[in-house]
């Protein structure tokens, strides 16, 4: 009896050990496959995020040794008038660029979906600006909006005789940058919306046509509601990307005139390289991380609700 029990327990133990070994072997293999991405992720992503938080309680650290700053940086982040200006500018830019590029992108997507011939070539041409680096796009656009030889300026001058300077005027500078980014982004959103359009259940359209719904009615009561998941994704993704606006501002206006194009990412860069104040820049960065993560959480929640 006693031996039988112990024998039984032994075999159960042995069994458990074997299963444990198998599981460990599986774990070992899997983590060996994951090791490279996890190492780089740890060094260049996890550590930087934690370090941001730590830096936000420090002064100096670039030229002079770092010292504890308490809540100084946080107080300054929420009272500095340029921070407020940068946040307002960035949101103003998003509010101009994102709806514009969405409406235009949707119009181009609808047009592309109706084309019979030449669609492949059209897609390539329309995607061409999206493909280029934003810095190159910004430089190419200096040849469109330069006061002396800009293509657009020459046109306006030929028609009205007025010589305009788009980037020199604090009221026009940010809308001009928004226009450039819309031009660059149009191809991307048009193709994304086109893929959304083509994925729609087409039998509904036949049914709607039989019910006597015209094309405009079909667009507003079928296409737009059905494309809601695409739009949720699009709005949040576009906001995350555009909240980081930097390249074109850096090369075209460097925040000016009178800080009218100063953005959050521009200020983070400046706080490090012009003001040698990484603690303050880190605080601003941390706020940006929190905002973007919150937006992403919102997106996940909205998409889950629909599914």
């Amino acid at each position: 009896m006693e031996t039988a029990t112990s024998h039984f327990q032994l075999s159960e133990d042995e069994h458990r050990k074997q299963r444990f070994r198998a599981a460990m072997r599986h774990n070992l293999t899997a983590y060996a496959f994951l090791a490279p991405i996890l190492v780089f992720f740890l060094i260049f992503m996890a550590v930087p995020v934690v370090w941001l938080f730590y830096l936000s309680f420090q002064h100096d650290g670039i030229l002079a040794p770092a010292q504890f700053a308490g809540l100084d940086n946080w107080r300054r982040t929420f009272s500095d008038s340029l921070v407020l200006k940068c946040i307002i500018n960035t949101l103003y830019y998003c509010a101009m660029a994102i709806p514009t590029v969405f409406v235009l992108g949707m119009i181009v997507a609808l047009s592309l979906s109706m084309v019979r011939r030449g669609a492949a070539l059209l897609r390539i041409i329309i995607y061409f600006p999206t493909l280029q680096a934003s810095l190159i796009v910004a430089l190419i656009w200096t040849f469109v909006i330069h006061p002396d030889f800009g293509l657009l300026n020459l046109g306006i001058r030929a028609l009205t005789g007025v010589k305009l300077n788009f980037l020199g005027d604090p009221h026009f500078a940010m809308p001009t940058i928004a226009m450039i980014e819309v031009w660059k982004g149009l191809g991307f959103w048009a193709i994304l919306f086109l893929s959304g359009l083509l994925a729609l259940p087409q039998d509904l359209y036949h049914a709607a046509e039989l019910d006597g719904a015209g094309p405009i009615r079909r667009f507003f009561s079928l296409t737009l509601p059905l494309m809601k998941p695409t739009f949720y994704f699009a709005v949040i993704f576009a906001t995350i990307v555009n909240l980081q606006l930097f390249d074109s501002v850096f090369v075209l206006t460097d925040g000016g005139p009178v800080d009218s194009t100063a953005t959050i990412a521009w200020y983070i860069y400046r706080s490090l390289f012009t003001f040698s104040d990484p603690g303050f820049g880190a605080t601003l960065s941390f706020v940006l991380v929190v905002v973007v993560l919150a937006l992403t959480a919102l997106q996940t929640w909205l998409l889950r609700e629909r599914a």
Partner: protein, 284 residues
């Protein structure tokens, strides 16, 4: 490919709608291309002739000095070479790193999987501009400021590609991998011999995506590298701008050359690219 060619709505649009669509597309094409054509014309003119009014649309005589100056007076060849080399290296490394991680997440059982997935998913959303300062301090403490390695290492941490490749691998039937295991193949061998050949079209699209992201990066190289001979093309060209009298002819020539590599790669792979994005953009 056939799928993309047939990519049209079920209802035939009316002739009026088709004319309107044609008009919209014609305007879009003109607006998309006009700046490039003007920049081509500018790059073939001397900068001082840019300021004459009315303008000469067609350069006469054709002036090649801008292109010559780029390579003779500026380290433009270095910028182009550095960018192409760094983008290619990052693309190659990233495909291996992402592919391995994606395979583990898609087809291997292990403890802690939900935690790893959640952490990597959250980090997809971390804005890279916000990591600028700590990244700079980390790279500086590694002694890598002003090296090309500084431009190669941090991009490898981006986990977005893991999820894209995982989606391709998850679509493969499990039996395929089980039967390879029964034949005694190791996991790495399965990934290399069985999985990779099957997801090659997706990998090609993903590779062009990584390459393009790398080729167009600006903010990080601007911060990490000061030596112009080690610099990439975007920052290099922007440094041409930071002079009192800007040589616009030079900048137009540089911008055009910078636009060529991605354009060529895109045209080569556009069929695969549109097939992916039009057929599966919204699939999880």
């Amino acid at each position: 490919m056939t799928r993309v060619r047939r990519a049209r709505l079920a209802l035939e649009p009316s002739p009026a709608a088709r004319v309107l669509a044609g008009f919209v597309l014609a305007v879009t094409v003109v607006v998309s291309l006009a700046p490039f054509f003007y920049v081509i014309s500018t790059s073939l003119k001397e900068t001082k002739s840019l300021f004459s009014y009315p303008p000469h649309w067609i350069p006469d005589p054709v002036y090649l000095g801008n292109y010559v100056a780029l390579f003779q007076k500026h380290p433009f060849g270095w910028w182009l070479g550095n960018t192409l080399a760094i983008s290619a290296i990052v693309t190659a490394l990233k495909l291996v790193i992402d592919g391995m991680a994606a395979y583990a997440l898609a087809k291997l059982d292990f403890s802690g999987k939900p935690v790893i997935v959640t952490i990597l998913l959250i980090s997809v959303a971390v804005p890279l501009a916000a990591l600028l300062i700590p990244l700079f301090l980390i790279i500086r403490s590694m002694g890598l400021i002003d090296t090309r390695l500084a431009l190669i290492l941090p991009p490898l941490a981006n986990p977005l590609g893991v999820f894209m490749i995982r989606a391709f691998i998850a679509g493969l039937p499990d039996e395929l991998i089980h039967s390879a295991r029964m034949d005694g193949a190791g996991e790495f061998e399965i990934l290399r011999r069985v999985v990779v050949p099957l997801i090659r079209p997706g990998l090609v699209v993903h590779a062009t995506f990584i390459f393009a992201t790398q080729y167009t990066s600006f903010l990080w190289p601007l911060v990490a590298v000061r030596d112009l001979h080690k610099q990439v093309i975007t920052v290099g060209i922007s440094s041409l701008r930071a002079i009192f009298t800007v040589d616009w002819g030079l900048i137009s020539a540089a911008s055009l050359i910078a636009a060529v590599p991605l354009t060529v790669i895109f045209i080569l792979f556009q069929q695969a690219f549109f097939h992916q994005s039009l057929a599966g953009a919204l699939k999880e």
